[in-house]
């Protein structure tokens, strides 16, 4: 049986797709057969972040409609042979995904995979609902910023009331916080909400803090999940996230402002 993870946030542009790609790669690298699914119907993007956009033949909707088999649609990652990508459809029909169809595909995948990562679209509409409905675990991706924290709290409400686990009165979806695009120097100067501020409001189990980092853009430019950039802080932070999720106890990093004295003195930008 696979563990189903939804990467969700409510708000758009906070780092869900970046996170989905990174943690799926991290899990697969550690020997777990993993599938990552793009739920953003009409706005396929995960394929670009994973660098497999030119190998997309069939998509999620084709499989649901029986126009292709799962094996035909799944793309094996070029860097890791335990990782598979199921791309989103580019159709503009918002009803192309159905609850029943998604359930069928997840069940089929569950037989063969250990982890299934669902990259949720933004919003609280149908797409986001379908991505979270079957989840066992939720990675709530939040930026230290008012509207993102508020939207995360709303997603928590939806997870607690609308997920399959909630409907069936089963053990609730396990919720984790991923605080991304964190800038310790701006937190220190009081311009940005800090970890403690966000936790005072959300109080979730913290999987990790992903610092704002240029390497994220470099990684997406080249279609390589940032976790493979072992020198980058964001890559290391995602590596920690995967380790913690799998039960390892690692101290949190990238919380402190570690800018050099001289850069601070002369107001250097990161």
């Amino acid at each position: 049986m696979a563990r189903i993870i939804v990467v969700t946030s409510g708000k758009g542009g906070v780092g869900k797709t970046t996170t989905s790609a990174a943690i799926a790669m991290g899990l697969a690298k550690r020997g777990h057969k993993t599938a990552v699914i793009d739920f953003d119907v009409g706005l396929r993007n995960l394929d670009l972040i994973m660098g497999c956009e030119r190998r997309v033949v069939y998509d999620f909707v084709n499989v649901i409609n029986g126009e292709a088999s799962l094996n035909q649609a799944l793309i094996r990652d070029k860097n890791c042979n335990l990782l598979y990508i199921l791309p989103a459809s580019q159709t503009r029909d918002k009803d192309a995904l159905t609850l029943e169809g998604v359930g069928r595909i997840l069940e089929e995948l569950s037989k063969d995979f250990q982890y299934i990562v669902c990259d949720s679209p933004a919003g609280i509409e149908k797409g986001a609902y379908l991505a979270l409905y079957y989840a066992d675990d939720a990675f709530v991706v939040t930026n230290p910023e008012v509207s993102s924290v508020r939207d995360s709290d709303r997603m928590l409400g939806i997870l607690a009331s609308k997920s399959r686990r909630a409907e069936r009165n089963e053990e609730p979806v396990k919720e984790y916080l991923l605080l991304t695009r964190y800038d310790p120097s701006r937190v220190k100067s009081g311009e940005m909400l800090g970890l403690d501020d966000v936790q005072d409001i959300l109080s979730l189990q913290l999987l990790g803090i992903i610092p704002e980092s240029k390497s994220v853009l470099t990684a997406s430019n080249s279609g390589i999940p940032v976790i493979l950039d072992e020198k980058s802080e964001a890559g290391q932070a995602y590596e920690d996230v995967v380790a913690r999720y799998l039960g390892e106890d690692r101290p949190h990093r990238f919380i402190e402002d570690k800018k050099g004295f001289f850069r601070k003195l002369f107001g250097g930008k990161s």
């Binding site: 910023e145 008012v146 924290v149 508020r150 709290d153 709303r154 409400g157 009331s161 937190v187 100067s189 009081g190 311009e191 940005m192 909400l193 800090g194 501020d197 005072d200 409001i201």
Partner: protein, 92 residues
């Protein structure tokens, strides 16, 4: 006042303001989402019952749902029409 004090005593930091606003808003939204969905219907039916006895306005009745850590309260407030000078109100 030293130069250092001048920099320290500057305006409240925007992150602190953000946090305070969020705390208020999120608390409010959490109560709203836990509010039972039968409230509007309950309000309407209560109004019908009360109107059998007293002629009150549509907005003379308010139903409030409150929740804290250990209890949920349903507060019902009916303002009776103004026969005499002062308002009579029934609290349940």
């Amino acid at each position: 006042m030293s130069l250092l004090d001048y920099f320290r005593k500057s305006k409240p930091k925007s992150a602190a303001i953000a946090k305070e606003r969020l705390q208020i808003l999120v608390a409010h939204e959490r109560t709203a989402r836990n509010r039972p969905s039968y409230l509007p219907q309950l309000q309407k039916e209560l109004l019908d019952v009360i109107r059998k006895y007293v002629n009150v306005d549509q907005d003379a009745i308010s139903v409030n749902f409150e929740q804290d850590e250990n209890q949920e309260t349903l507060e019902l407030n009916i303002v009776l029409p103004d026969y005499q000078q002062e308002n009579k109100s029934v609290n349940m």
